[in-house]
Amino acid sequence: MDILISGLLLGGTYALIAMGLTLQYGVARIMNLANGEVLVIGALTAFLVYTSLAVSPLVTVLVIAPLAFAASWLVYRILLLPLVRRAKNQGQLEVDSILATFGMGFFLVGGMVFIYPELFAYSYLAVPVDLAGTTVAANRLVAFGGAVLIGLALYLWLNRTRAGLAVRAVAVSPLAAGLVGINVEKTSALAFAIGGMITAMGGVLISTFITLDPSFGVIFTMKALIIVIMGGVGDIRGAIVAALILGVVETAVATLIDPGLTLAAAYTIFLLVLLFRPEGLFGRRPA
């Protein structure tokens, strides 16, 4: 029980890290290696506003959403679209986007160092809550709630709205999407921007309980990539389920076997999933 609850909470954190990337990679076909940096920017913003203006991160998360959306939109339109247009095939785009977003990540880290080079941490809702006999931190619970809300909203948007349908269609085949009257570039930009928005929001929520410095992004990027791939590229349910599985497995291994083996366990799970379902949990086989 203990393990399940803690594990799910951790899974919620992972979902926050990965949901944005699954849109960006699955739909806009940009393997965004600057994902972690965007997360850290969200966290840094929350920290700065909290410590200097005493604004609650729950307010920040709402303010940062439109900003991150707009910024990501611009990044896609200005920096990434030329690469998409130029790419002759998916492989080419993958290589180009790896290189370009790696560079962007560097740039963002460098920028953050200018603003705040040190570790940043603040205390927000660091109080114990009793949940079915397990003590958990309220801030983690809030973040989990945030993950659930964001995940749900995203799921409904993708499955119940016309724009969401377009996004899913582009994820499957940009060519065919164009032929059924979907504006592929706009839809990709939208998916990328929403992805960036979710990641930044995740950063804000995570900052309430994780201590970071500007260079931490790469760790999150790697986690996010693993979750996205494990869940199946482009499938939001997959990313969420994979995040939860990873959370529970890591917690179980940490509690029952040894905390030193959590990462090894995570990768083992990753590998096992891919060996038995090479397309990821919810993914479709690459054509």
Binding site: V172, S173, A176, G178, L179, G181, A287
Partner: protein, 236 residues
């Protein structure tokens, strides 16, 4: 209806199409014949707005220019396109493909009627509604592709070698179906290798060689033209 004037398509230095002009009306089937590499696909792709080359010239539909529009807007204007290689959502189910076909604004109101039309053309699609399209056989996928295009409620339906890989039975069905589609008032612009069958049901035809129109006429006239027979009908 659809009018193309002086269309030129260049890939780098290579001119795939030069000064091509043609028209297609609602309710008629127009077939384009030409050897491999003559530029037929280049023509259709340019009209549909997905050309990889540089396009010059005029494309108008009912008088409105399509030249500067993206593929998505062109669909909204009323041109549906089934490219070579089909352009379907391989990872989605048959049904999802058909539903996505009705994505354009213009198609939504008539989704039900169009769906009925598709199912009556291709009953197999209703039986296989849940199958992932990528796992279907070549011919089955072709049905999905055409069905998807009809779902977009087009004025003009463009098909690039739709009979490729179809069994004789289905081939015949396909051409019959195209006739039926014509009867519903849709214009069909068709690129075909199967000259005999396609000319047999078409109203008019164009011949393309090396990127230029080298002949045009009523289908029956072309069918009996000795030069056409020699080049496209296996020299009977």
């Amino acid at each position: 209806m659809l009018e193309i004037r002086n269309l030129t398509v260049t890939y780098g230095l290579h001119k795939a199409l030069q000064g091509v002009s043609l028209t297609a009306e609602k309710g008629e089937v127009v077939v384009i014949l030409g050897a491999n590499g003559a530029g037929k696909s280049s023509l259709l792709r340019a009209i549909a707005g997905i050309s990889e080359g540089d396009v010059a010239g005029d494309v108008t539909l009912a008088g409105a220019s399509l030249r500067s529009l993206g593929a998505d807007r062109i669909v909204e204007q009323g041109i549906a396109f089934v490219p070579e290689g089909r352009g379907i959502f391989g990872d989605l189910s048959v049904w999802e493909n058909l539903m996505l076909g009705a994505y354009p604004e213009r198609a939504r109101a008539r989704r039900k009627q169009n769906l009925e039309r598709v199912v009556s053309l291709f009953p197999k699609l209703a039986q296989r509604r849940g199958q992932t399209v990528r796992t279907m056989s070549g011919g089955e996928q072709q049905m999905v592709a055409i069905g998807r295009a009809i779902m977009s409620n087009p004025d003009i339906l463009m098909l690039d070698e739709p009979s490729l890989g179809l069994s004789p039975l289905l081939c015949r069905d396909l051409f019959e179906n195209l006739s039926k589609i014509r009867e519903t008032g849709i214009g069909v612009l068709l690129v075909e290798q199967n000259a005999k069958q396609s000319l047999a049901m078409a109203d008019r035809g164009y011949l393309i060689e090396n990127g230029r129109i080298t002949g045009e006429g009523q289908a029956d006239a072309l069918l009996s033209d000795p030069a056409v027979q020699k080049a496209y009908l296996g020299g009977v």
